[in-house]
Amino acid sequence: MDQAIIIEKSIVIVAVFALTMIMAMYSTLAERKIAAWLQDRIGPNRAGPGGIMQPLADGLKLFSKEEFFPNTPNRFLFIAGPFISMTTALMTSAVIPWGDKLHLFGRDIILQATDIDVAMLYVFGVLSVGVYGIMIGGWASNNKFSLMSAMRASSQMISYEVAMGLSIIALVMMTGSLSLKEIAAGQEGMNWNVFYQPVGFLIFLVCSFAETNRTPFDLAECEAELIGGYHTEYSSMKMGFYLFAEYASMFISSTILAVLYFGAYNYPGMQWMEENVGVNTANVIGMVVLFGKLCFFIFFYMWVRWTIPRFRYDQLMRLGWKMLIPLAIANIIITGIIILINDGNFKF
């Protein structure tokens, strides 16, 4: 294989992985700080200037706790639960287009770890496997409350995956391709998909809240009802992995939202920048713009957490099956009709 490609890909992969880990780490700090500010108090500000080293302190604390195994016959499964959660949360970051291309050293470097043709399917597949992490954790804990919580979490996740997939179908019909790179490239300038698919965006937003087990859909881990939920029996780094996987999947969901509906790295005037100032600058600014969008969505996740009370289980199921799925199907039908009317082209 070409030496240069190996080096280039390795650097991109390492950079994407490092970015995911760092963003997930600082999401934990951002969660605490934003939660505090929304509640008229200041969050952790003692560890390092303004609390910057707090995630490291948290990690150190989790490492130094006792490694506890409950009285379970499934030791392997007990350890495998957080492992699966974490792996699937990190795997999805491989297909996200961070920018168009960089022109360095005389070659075009694609800013994406892998460019699969069916990237959307890949993302959904990995998300579905993520349910296993919670289920296995709840089962292997040998504890009725954990099992109940795992049941609720898994049923919630699979219900909302259907609506999520259906809302994406309309988007794919519009774009004509499943590849995330093509979807991102099709949103030039201000031509973002949210203006063409507002209902789809809303459905996807609600479903992504449910997929990551965030409030208002967080009955899997609510303390009042189920003590700790599926992570009651976990301590030390296994617990750390569960929490970290939740923040990593929150980061990934924000990124996918930004890529699919909010124009990924596109910003108005990118075409002009590419021609006049240079490809590299335009794409670096594009990366920063994508970063800003996903930070806004992460903030939105935290904002909603402290605004809306939690759903009851039957309300949640009703919302997923009886309200979102018909709405998504209606969205598909309307999109199809408009495409037929416009001779195969959605954007007028």
Partner: protein, 182 residues
């Protein structure tokens, strides 16, 4: 003045039991209104007091660390009568009495004084009964206005006279004011 019109706090709101309209049942408007309320709190002043750079104001009758008082000539007031130890509900005070030597007349008010006076701060509940019981007005909780600092060992919490007695310059400072008034 029927039951429908009375509102003691003035915040009575009429709630209706009507079925929600289609748009209301989407909760979208309600959620957006809630989001605006929350975001307003992001920009309000925070109520956190950043201890230890800032401290809370304490009232004049705040019961903090004990202080064994001296009179206006700098002599210790405590006569080791033991009434404070008797009245302490937590049995936190212990003392040992000694007789005053002739060359110690400037140190202690009366012939009997406490050579060892210890309060176990972990047992103390800061009720102030010792302050009320003392016949010589020798122990006060409201004068030092400091909290007892945290520590790692149990032994470090048994405060002796070195920590409890009023500093001499604080006692003698008081003598200057009445003399100037004369």
């Amino acid at each position: 003045m029927s039951i429908e019109t009375i509102s003691l706090s003035g915040r009575k709101k009429e709630v209706s039991n009507k079925k929600m309209t289609f748009w209301e049942s989407l909760y979208l408007v309600a959620i957006v209104k809630g989001l605006f309320i929350t975001i307003r709190h992001l920009f309000t002043r925070k109520v956190t007091i950043k201890y230890p750079e800032q401290t809370r104001e304490i009232s004049p009758v705040y019961r903090g660390q004990h202080m064994l008082m001296r009179d206006d000539e700098g002599r210790e007031r405590c006569t080791a009568c033991g009434l404070c130890a008797l009245s302490c509900p937590a049995e936190a005070i212990t003392m040992k009495a000694e007789e005053r030597k002739p060359d110690e007349m400037h140190l202690y008010r009366e012939e009997k004084y406490a050579s060892i006076y210890e309060i176990n701060m972990l047992r103390c509940i800061f009720c102030g009964l010792c302050e009320e019981a003392c016949p010589k007005q020798a122990i006060y909780l409201t004068k030092s206005r400091t909290m007892v600092r945290s520590n790692s060992d149990r032994e470090d919490f048994i405060f002796g006279k070195d920590k409890l007695v009023m500093p001499l310059d604080m006692a003698i400072d008081n003598t200057k004011k009445p003399q100037m008034a004369k």
